[in-house]
Structures are given as C-alpha cells and as structure tokens.
Amino acid sequence: MAATATGSRLEKVLKGGHLAVTSECGPPRSSDPAHIKEKGELIKDHVDSINVTDNQTSVTRLCSLAACIHLKGMGLDPVLQMVVRDRNRIALQSDILGAASFGVNNILCLSGDHQSFGDSPQASNVFDLDSMQLVQTVRHMRDEGKFLSGDEIKVPPSMFVGAAANPFGDPFKIRVPRLAKKIASGAEFIQTQCIYNLDKFEKWMEGVRARGLHEEVYILAGITPLRSVGMARYLQKNVPGMDVPDELIERMKGVDKKKQGDEGITIAVESIQRLKEVEGVAGFHVMAIEWEEKVPEIVERSGLYPRPNID
C-alpha cells in the first residue's frame, strides 16, 4: 500500500487499492444531534467514510464540523465539507484546526451554492478564497506545518484533502483542465457531481486518462438515486450543472408511481456496475438525499459489500 499521510480511513482504503464507497449526511435544521447519529448508524457498515454537507443549498443547518464530531464519536470516518462562501481565511484555518483536533481526517473543499438559493438571500457572501485556494491552504497547513501567514503550526492538521468536480458544468472543454488545476492545487481525492449522463461522464474520463490525471488523484463517481420522475424532472430543469438525459426521465415515467423509487435504485446500481469498469474510477460517492436508508441496498446490489477491513 502507498504511504498514507493522514489518519483517514478513506485514504487507507484508496491507497490500499480498494474501490472506496462514501456517502453523505445532511445535518438537521435543529440542535438535536440524534438525527445525524441515526443517519450515521444506518449507513456505517456499508461505507468507508461519510461526508457531512456544509449548509448545502445555502440553507442554514447544524454545522458540518459539529456533525462530523458526532460521527467521529461513533467511531466513523467523517469527511468535513467546507464551503468558502461563509468563512474568510481566518475562520477557515481555525475550523480546520478545530476539526483536526477532534480527529476529523478528511476535508472536501467547495465553493458552495450561492446564497440566493437558500434561506438567507439577503446575506453577504465571503469568498475570500475559492475552492482551489482552500485546497492549497489545507495542504500548506498540513505539509508545511504553517498558517497562510507563514507562522508555524506546532501540531499541523492531519487531513486527506478532496475537491469536487462537475463534468457536466460548462464549458465542457475546460472540465478536464479544471480537474488538472485542482490536482495542481493539491487535491488528493475528487467526488463528482451526481452522474446521470454516463456517456458524457465516460467522455470526460477519457480526457482525464489522456492526461494521466487518474493516476494523480482518486476519482469517486457521484451517484444519487432518483426517487421519482418528478425528482428527475426537477434536477433536469432547475439544478444548474445537472445533466439528466431525457431517456432516464422516460424510463422513470414508464414505471408505476409506487415502483419509481425501486426503479431509481436499480438505475443507481446499474450506473455503478457500468462505471466500475471505467479505468480511473476509484470509488463511488453515494448521495441518497434524505433517503439514507437505501444506501446499504445500493452498495450491496452493486457488489461493493462488504467493505474492506482496514485498521
């Protein structure tokens, strides 16, 4: 196994040559930790690591850091999602140290949805750094043992550093160079946007392999099961950067309403099975939004269970 730099379970699984499985939990709009713990309990045996979203879609929720600490307390390997929308470099570095102090060993660096989508469109946004600069920041703190200011960090944060990639955003021609830029910034793993257009994803992966980028970063393919034809239509029409082909909507439409959820799960399983064969796909990020109880079934039916036993 390649040398690991952190205490991250995700890093060990990937460097051990296994296909990794991650999932995510959205924290509650409440101060009750029971919700996040229940979600963790539902999926813990079927995934290697669990992302915790950071005020996703700009809706105010229990903070990602606290939720990660709850999961860590259960012996799980959380991935701290951190957006640059709400924090300047002082707060970002501070939260990174805080997370590391609780043994949170993974971070996913994101720009974050614009606040106009959420519950506080009147809020000021920050964007002191962008997501790539956050990746650089964490790597600098970890590898150099220094703050951005150059001051020494006596005990640097031990974090496996990730970033997102959306092969379906425009302009398409910049999407492989953009991945290269994230790798150059220091990203060690990538979790992609939900993949529904498999042909386009495979085309992106061809470009990734042509430059050998799949050998420089672990790419986890993003999978979100469709619960209904309504959800498929909503994603297609209303979510920028989401590519849901018409054939998929037709397939969901052709199924009795009560069975559409099952069909969505089957589509997710088929997608994973197809993408497992794609060179350069290092694992799967299964985002079953408010449907976490289905993660075990998806993982089992995709042949990704049991998860490797890593110390």
Binding site: F117, D130, A164, N166, G169, D170, A184, P240
Partner: protein, 220 residues
Amino acid sequence: MIVGEQKPFEEIWEMVKDHKQLTVFGCNTCVAVCHQGGNKEAGILAAQLRMRASQDDVEIEIVDSGIERQCEHEFFEKTEDLVQKSEAVLSLACGIGVQFMATKYDSTPIYPALNTTFLGDVPETGLFTEKCQACGDCVLGVTGGVCPVSRCAKRLFNGPCGGSTTGKCEISKETECAWQLVVDRLEALGRLDTYEKVMPLKDWSKDRSGGPRSFKLEDF
C-alpha cells in the same frame, strides 16, 4: 462610470417632507448618463415633489438646480449662494457627491435621491452593467479582460464553478457566467493554456476590507 438608480418616490418623499424649503440638486456627469441623477432628472423630480406637496397640502418651497459634478469644489462656484441658503438639499448625485456636499455644507441636511448601484458600462442604449468593484489590484491582464471580482457571483479566481450552464450563471439565466467569458476570451487570444495556472490568494487589504482608501499626488 458610476451607475445609480433613483430611490422609490415614497422613500424620497418621507425623507424631505418635513422641510419648509428644499433644493433638488442634479449631478450632470456619471448619473446623468444613466438618466437617473442629471440636472434634467432633478427638474422632473422637483416637479413630482411639488405635485405631491400640493396633494398633501404640505407647504414646502422646492427649487431645482444642478452642477456638473458634486464631488469637486470647483464646480460649486456658481451655485454656492443657492446651496448656502437652502434649508435642505436632495442630491441626485451618487453616494460620493452626497458625502462631498455633506462635508462641504456641514450644517445643511443632504439627502440621497439615488441608490448608488455599481461601476459599469453602457453596452447598449438604456442598458448598464457592472464591470468593476475597485478591488485595488486589477487582474484583467490574466483573465483575458473579464473581471471575476465584479462579474462572478462568487468572485472565483479559479472558476468556473459547477453551476455554469450554457454560458449562464447558476444564480440567474439572465446573468452571464464570467468564467465562460474568460475561457472564450483566452481561447480567442490563443492563451487557453494559461487557464491552468492556479491564481494565488487575493490580497483583499487593497479592497474595502483594508479600510477607506485614498491616495495623494505629492506634486500638488
């Protein structure tokens, strides 16, 4: 240039209605170009206020006037007397002109008739678009002449984000994605390869984050 938009009439009326005398004062440069704050608009706004005063039976003497620029002393010479004698002034200048007058006439209330909205251009008649946020450290030389600070909703220096769709920003189908424009322009310049250079962390101390900015020409 500086672009502004007139405040809602009711808001303006509420600010000024308790005065007995009011001078409505245009600024005939930037905000005249966008037809919101020039001397002509000052005349129209004064007429609307007189009508409202008469409807509400409010006694208020309203005169209108204006100068070329409310942000420099020399332009005030001709209207010095008028402003000195005014009980209150409703300025149609941008926030700069309003503050300049408030400093110059320190015991006269100066009210803003406009909301100063942005620094922009006039790509077509009647259309004004934001192009600069005066961040104090211009990067247009490396972004192909497209400003990521003012034109990207997340002011990303290494965009585009995943929300860029068919050239539009995730916040609105009416808003162009600045990074699509950067990429198109770099391609047109034959410099698309420079896209992969990671842009370093920005020094925002040169922006408003560093406090109010000024500079002085030593020769004057």
